[in-house]
Symmetry: C2
Subunit: 333 residues, 2 copies
């Protein structure tokens, strides 16, 4: 970047938008100006950024004049409606929603994996992948580079922050209500999430998989440029406030053992190995909350498939799974 | 059974022991007498059974005179020490611990699957399988009968009741302490379990798998009499009070589709199909709590392996995963 940029956050008061603000601040992102956009309801609120107060403005089609990079974190509907206006005004859009991810002219980028794709944004839009996919691929990419990824079987343990502030509030309300013998409220999840797990994230599609589960298949293929990659996934919401965990079985072209797998992570940014059964060391969601790095552990030789490993990865899905990854994409530009 | 029997529960004040008492009562088990045994600490307490008060007696090596069937639910150490005394006194032992499960002379029985094995108790001991294994096999057995089970890849979501009353108390204490800003207590689990998930159930073994994970392999092979069965498992504790869930990928000898798989469950006792994505119907742990049946759903064609299905099973691990299964074994005798 030759010049400092004017950045906008669309959806600045949401769970991901708030974290984008923090990421921009912490990473000393080179910028001349920050514009915060949100719905009319939030307009007028203030946020502090690098010691200065910024007033949140109402998002309109005319919000994007002079903006270089617009980080969208307000859901697919808002992205579909306003991203074209941002592009028309000359901004590059980094979109956290799923609206454009599978568009062949929209790169889908994890900066540690395929940063070069970010420079192919024919439509002026770059998509931020699904959170569970990012976290899973952070663990699988170093192994893929060395052993050649062939298939993934995944079961997720997804935090309520994946549903934004409303998901967090619902778990809190239910836990408090149950403690006081009061009725629970249920608006975000189809079942009680407190002290329960729900094998249903996003809507069901033909074949019985959910959209979230199919994202793991389709987005992994696109990010890794492996159109033949096989992926089977079961996505489950758990009563954790933040950080997604994924139990992975990964099959490779080449033989791989646990020692080789552990070595493969050396030197890769954004992923830390926490894997020492003798010391009872393995990652859990509370260890990654508010941290940028994903943590990988429980690496074992899989006992069902040849050339396969079982492993466990955890990452803060609001950060690496969303806000941080988007800011990193903006940094690549 | 020609005669009504004298039954004993060893560990009558534990989470599983208490449920055994309820199961015996609810199932109108034909018995002449019930003896409740526990540690000296609990001796003298009373429990009501079929309208009568029974005083809990201290467990000693002389506790088993006249007892026909002794249900052991007090942990492996107690089983190892006292089961031989029970057998010597003429009782048949149904043991809920892992102490004797892999002994070739001890049958390992799920009554819906291999009831005939219960009659081969050469040592007078019958073992009750691991809870996660029972629940998983309840879902897989009807499919195995029809399509021939070849391999299982499993990720579990295990409730704290799997650690007995101490596990339940630890989750409760942590949730309350966190709500009040007080320090959490941590005695049962190596990490905070409230609002967290822990990929560590039972102790680590060579190769990085835990004992719990290897139970799924070894016990499944023994129960199904499939010595070549391949099983790979990741066991995870979740902040759910009761009922284990398991995300399964099951590979079969024969081709299988979702409709055939659903049909396979018709007529099998102890397992209910709850599987209608269009109606958002699938099992969750709260649905099975205090219920005898396991529930299976989310049946999908697996997209990684040929002839394979992805599915989701949930069962009350204190009941079908422990107490109920033990009482059912006693019924088979």
């Amino acid at each position: 970047m030759s010049q400092d940029k004017h950045i906008a956050i669309v959806g600045a008061t949401g769970a991901v938008g708030e974290e984008m603000l923090k990421c921009l601040e912490e990473r000393a992102f080179p910028m001349s100006k920050l514009t915060l956009l949100a719905s009319a309801r939030s307009a007028g609120q203030k946020r502090t950024f690098r010691g200065e107060e910024i007033e949140i403005q109402e998002l309109t089609h005319d919000s994007f004049g002079g903006i270089d990079v617009a980080l969208f974190a307000a859901g697919g509907g808002i992205s579909e409606e306003y991203a074209p206006s941002a592009v028309k005004a000359g901004a590059i859009v980094v979109d956290n929603s799923s609206a454009f991810r599978m568009d062949p002219d929209v790169p889908l980028v994890v900066p540690e994996i395929n940063p070069e794709d970010a420079r192919q944004a024919k439509k002026g839009i770059i998509a931020n992948p699904n959170c569970t996919t990012i976290i899973s691929l952070m663990a699988l990419f170093p192994l893929h580079k060395k052993f050649g990824l062939k298939s993934i079987i995944a079961s997720s343990y997804q935090a309520v922050s994946g549903s934004g502030t409303a998901g967090i509030a619902e778990l809190e309300q239910q836990v408090n209500a149950l403690a006081q013998g009061e009725p629970i409220e249920q608006n975000v999840y189809p079942k009680q999430i407190a002290f329960n797990v729900i094998p249903h994230v996003d809507v069901f599609q033909d074949g019985g998989y959910t959209k979230e589960e199919l994202k793991m298949l389709n987005e992994s293929r696109k990010i890794l440029a492996l159109p033949e990659l096989k992926v089977s996934c079961t996505c489950v919401r758990v009563p954790v406030y933040r950080s997604h965990s994924v139990s992975l079985t990964a099959e490779f072209d080449q033989a791989v053992d646990v020692a080789q797998a552990r070595e493969a992570f050396a030197g890769y940014p954004g992923i830390q190995l926490v894997d020492d059964p003798d010391q009872e060391l393995y990652p859990v969601p509370l260890d990654t909350t508010n941290k940028n790095d994903c943590l990988v552990g429980r690496i074992r030789k899989d006992t069902v498939m040849d050339n396969a490993l079982a492993l466990w990865v955890v990452g803060d899905q609001v950060l690496k799974g969303a806000a941080l990854n988007a800011v990193q994409i903006a940094e690549v530009l």
